[in-house]
């Protein structure tokens, strides 16, 4: 990412943080300032989904097109960063649950579904570690991440809706309408856009680093 774009991203994220704490109003029915976690928790969950989809698309390109090291490493990097954001979404959700429900964890369908997604993609890393041959590792991991492309929507959109949930309604509710206060919606969308750009910057860095590590290992063999 070019330096001016990077400065723009940092400025954007700083503005989002200030707006989240000083400009956006508090949501009704939430204890104290707890609703402000929405501006970070929701974008983190969103970015984890974007990351897993990016990994799936890069893996599909690896299987269908030229099987380059870059595509393999880009998929792995997306999953690593997706796991980080999914973990952060889980932790921020648990903090919010402690404030609102007086319990860190109660197996609400949304909590359960993000844990399943975490386990599914953590298993991808276990698979990478278990296959020594580079060609086989790339092929098998790409097949697994492509499988994620079709099952992750179940984890994120179907599983959370199975059974009773105390989780606040999604930004777009079951009737397909947005019922969020306009200033909150602006901050939430700005935060989601900022976190998405942050992911792509981190992804670019991690992929480059992984490619250099691979080249170094190749040189030491």
């Amino acid at each position: 990412m070019k330096r001016p774009l990077l400065w723009l991203l940092w400025g954007w994220m700083a503005t989002v943080i200030v707006a989240a704490f000083h400009w956006a109003p508090l949501a009704e029915g939430f204890l104290g300032q707890s609703s402000r976690i929405l501006f970070f928790h929701v974008p983190m969950a969103w970015v984890s989904f974007v990351a897993f989809m990016v990994a799936g698309v890069r893996s599909l390109a690896y299987l269908a097109g030229r099987r380059t090291e870059r595509r393999d490493q880009a998929a792995a990097a997306a999953i690593e960063i997706g796991l980080l954001f999914a973990l952060l979404a889980t932790v921020t959700g648990a903090i919010w649950a402690r404030i609102m429900w007086n319990s860190w964890w109660n197996w609400d369908p949304r909590q359960a579904s993000i844990v399943v997604a975490l386990l599914f993609y953590a298993a991808y890393l276990a698979l990478r570690a278990a296959v020594a041959d580079r060609e086989a590792r790339g092929r098998l991991c790409a097949a697994y991440a492509t499988l994620g492309l079709v099952v992750a929507p179940f984890f994120y959109f179907v599983l959370p809706r199975l059974g009773f949930t105390l989780h606040p309604e999604a930004v777009i509710n079951a009737q397909g309408k947005v019922e969020v206060e306009p200033r909150m919606l602006v901050v939430l969308l700005a935060s989601s856009a900022g976190f998405t750009a942050l992911f792509f910057w981190m992804h670019q860095l991690r992929t480059r680093l992984a490619l250099r590590e691979a080249r170094l290992l190749e040189g030491s063999d």
Binding site: L63, V116, A117, L119, F120, A122, A123, A126, L127, A130, V131, A132, E135, A136, R139, L140, A142, A143, Y144, T146, L147, V150, V151, F154, F155, V158, L159, L162
Partner: protein, 225 residues
């Protein structure tokens, strides 16, 4: 599909049952695991351990936990033994990848159907449970078993090429099987207790179809380097 493809898939299916009849590895592992687990669970939660209401609630969950763990114990070897005995190369030459997947999938599905046919009546007897809707119970077991077979066959092919196949299989399979297990437990509970499970069965069929289509599309790249 051509008749040649069907013949290849049928040959893989027949070969695996012939090998199983000689070695009896998978059937013995799966059935003994299921019986042992059911005996232990029914001692703690059966007629002397829990009230009828509690039993019907936990039996469906226990039955699917048992089926998942039995599958994890006995099915990773579906492809591992082909790699270990160096028959995988011959199989790659003898049949198309999709026919190999279809044959293996049919073999795993028939094995799971056999396991369900043994474990379910035994669970109902040991837990002393009435069945409100036998037809729906068969549907729930069939749909759950089909999804379980598709997921385990696909993942068994992946882990066969890695180190520590059985451990790796559990790490890969359980997250993929959670949505299937949640839906299958809900459908089985409704069949035992008499509730409506139409929506759950539709979601279960949808998940099964997703895994099966993904399996047929991905298997050729997993199987043939």
């Amino acid at each position: 599909m051509s008749s040649g493809w069907t013949a290849e898939a049928a040959a893989v299916f027949a070969k695996d049952w012939r090998a199983e009849r000689r070695a009896r590895h998978a059937v013995a592992t799966l059935v003994l695991f299921a019986i042992t687990t059911l005996v232990i669970a029914s001692l703690a939660l059966g007629p002397i351990g829990a009230t009828p209401g509690e039993r019907s609630d936990v039996a469906s969950a226990l039955l699917w936990i048992l089926l998942l763990f039995a599958a994890a114990a006995g099915l990773p070897r579906v492809f591992v033994h082909e790699e270990e005995s160096h028959t995988a190369t011959v199989l790659r030459l003898a049949a198309r990848p999709s026919a190999v997947f279809a044959g293996k999938l049919a073999w795993v599905a028939s094995l799971l159907a056999l396991l369900e046919a043994v474990a379910t009546p035994l669970a109902l007897a040991l837990f002393d449970l009435p069945v409100a809707s036998p037809g729906r119970l068969v549907l729930a077991l069939g749909a759950g078993g089909a999804g379980l077979a598709a997921a385990t066959t696909l993942l068994a092919a992946i882990v066969a090429q890695g180190r520590g196949a059985t451990t790796l299989f559990a790490a890969l399979a359980f997250p993929l099987l959670v949505p299937l297990a949640v839906l299958a437990v809900a459908a089985t509970r409704a069949a035992l207790g008499g509730g409506d499970a139409g929506g759950v069965l539709v979601q279960l069929f949808l998940y099964d179809s997703t895994i099966m289509v993904a399996g047929f599309l991905l298997f050729p790249v997993i199987w043939a380097p």
